[in-house]
Symmetry: C2
Subunit: 352 residues, 2 copies
């Protein structure tokens, strides 16, 4: 993947991203929070959801689409639920606020389920579902995608996003289970990366309007992303849109603003995050031991021809994290170029 580029230290990248946001009137603390989460995404190998997204965030801050100084607040609340108004700030900020609130509620009432409106693209879901792990809680997240690339099953109108869903479940000695998936076979970000690199998509990711496979990532707009399991993935994307979007007063279907194409309109992006306290269900240590036992059995399965081992969702991320923390984050030359252009535009120090 990105191993062709030079490696950069996490702290240097974080400083660069912070500088970029501050140059666009984002307060220093908020800038540092978002920069840190973007670099966390890079460190874990979410190459399409970390600093790769700076260009989009910068354009939207520059053109008034995103509010640099949001007043993030609780709009509606019950014991175990809330709706948070992200005030159109950088999406990471509302997500951190909502996740902390969900954990507080889970500690007091067993579960906390917090929806967001007026949010924005917030990087990979795994950033947020993993936060409850430190408190022995399960994390659950879903979002309305930041652009519509998917028609309803059997249709051709682009009314749905890749609407991701994510879960994190604590384990004992084993790494936690972290599942972070688009409801399409491929995520839009991966296609962007292939386009940037001049590589082709595998068949099965997209079809054209004629229903035939589409493999040229630069022709993405001429076709549709395919949902997983056909009508099932469509159903999941629809339900996620209703729960992460409509239920929180956020946008869905044709109201969704393509956050890349339109850099000046608020997106009113919707997400939800839930934290579930393991202790409300059973003894935490017993749970972790049981999870370890089941994960061990899955990993010990005999393999199909062509597979070296059975993986647990998220288990590769830890290895990538360790490697990148040590050796640095490899950035593709095209991305380095894009970051240099941003440095010039904003008159900040280049990444070095």
């Amino acid at each position: 993947m990105s191993e062709t580029g030079r490696c950069y230290r996490a702290q240097d990248l974080e400083r660069f991203l912070t500088d970029a946001f501050v140059a666009l009137d984002v307060p220093g603390d908020d800038a540092a929070t978002v920069a840190h989460l973007m670099v966390e995404a890079d460190l874990h190998g979410y190459d399409t959801h970390g600093s790769f997204r700076l260009r989009q965030y910068v354009n939207r801050l520059r053109d008034g689409g995103t509010n640099p100084k949001p007043w993030i607040r609780i709009e509606r609340e019950s014991d175990a639920t809330a709706v948070v108004d992200g005030d159109n700030g950088l999406g990471h900020l509302a997500m951190v606020f909502a996740t902390e609130l969900a954990m507080e509620k889970a500690a007091a009432h067993g579960i906390g389920w917090v929806g967001i409106n007026a949010g924005n693209h917030a990087g990979p879901a795994s950033l947020y579902v993993k936060m409850p792990l430190a408190r022995d809680m399960v994390g659950l997240y879903a979002a309305v995608g930041s652009a519509n690339h998917v028609p309803p099953w059997g249709g051709t109108d682009l009314l749905l996003g890749t609407n991701p869903i994510a879960f994190a479940v604590p384990a004992g000695e084993e790494p936690p289970v972290v599942l972070d998936m688009a409801t399409t076979v491929a995520a839009a970000g991966k296609i962007k990366t292939l386009a940037q690199r001049g590589e082709a998509m595998p068949e099965g990711w997209m079809v054209g309007r004629d229903g035939k496979p589409l493999t040229d990532p630069t022709r993405q707009k001429e076709g549709f992303l395919l949902p997983i399991g056909g009508p099932k993935g469509y159903g999941l994307a629809l339900v996620i849109g209703l729960l992460a979007g409509v239920l929180n007063g956020a946008n869905f279907t044709s109201d969704v603003v393509d956050f890349t194409a339109d850099t000046s309109s608020p997106t009113n992006t919707g997400q939800f995050i839930a934290a579930i306290s393991v202790d409300a269900f059973m003894d935490v240590d017993a749970f972790k031991r049981e999870v370890d036992t089941h994960l061990g059995r899955l990993k010990s399965s005999d393999t199909l021809p062509g597979f070296d081992r059975v993986r647990i969702p998220g288990d590769r991320r830890d290895a990538i994290y360790r490697e990148r923390s040590e050796r640095g984050i490899p950035l593709h030359p095209n991305l380095v170029q894009a970051l240099s252009e941003i440095a010039e535009e904003l008159n900040i120090d280049r990444l070095s």
Copy 2:
């Protein structure tokens, strides 16, 4: 599908099922509750999850695998969560108990999330996720499948079930959205029905141990069900197993008891049901209007060649329900034969 058989009136089928359970020492009220839900499944066209399952339930009650007189109770509880011990009774009974509890908690605290252990096969998920709709709540359900037909992605050991997930979301004038899906391309019940009817499976439902397509449903045991989206469906099945099973003290992976093959061991089946009060998030009428708007847009999409219209998950079920409520429930001759054999074994009146 089952249109080749004679039609039976819902009330006659319900009486027959009640008699069968009572003959196996199930108290009259409980027998009637389960019979009613099984006929509801038949009326909605869930042909693999209604009276089709009587044979399995009867065998397990007869052989001591299922407890006819369970003491269903709350094992652990917080404001917004609970774990229910189903005491190994018929699965429908614990599910009704848990769903009512989840709705009470949602009314008081915004959301109620209730897990079950010592449950059993409980028919289609849609029966339970639809219950919260009457109280303007969203329903969410998942279960550990009642037998392992699926290996982890890349593996060959059968450690996972079809682990279904289901959602119901209220609408206004439109029918509610009811998504009830296995995390495999095909559900095990559908394969059973094809085997009973002597029909072949489409390619893509299963592969053999050689990785090649398997289409003969009677050879089901020689191959694997395929998860939706490959590793994504595997990830979903795993997380569902942890949340519906392990978190509630229920079985998962190699502890799962095949409830057809083994009729004398408790299955310790796990499920969870959540109810989410729309009112905790936004004005109920405004929500319903918004949902209607979005569903209308999806249904108005232009269609791909080969599709007459875009469907909303669950929308066919209402039409089937109306038709079957009027004309009766068509039962396949093989199923009628199986029910006759049960009548003879239990010395109860035949279905007529």
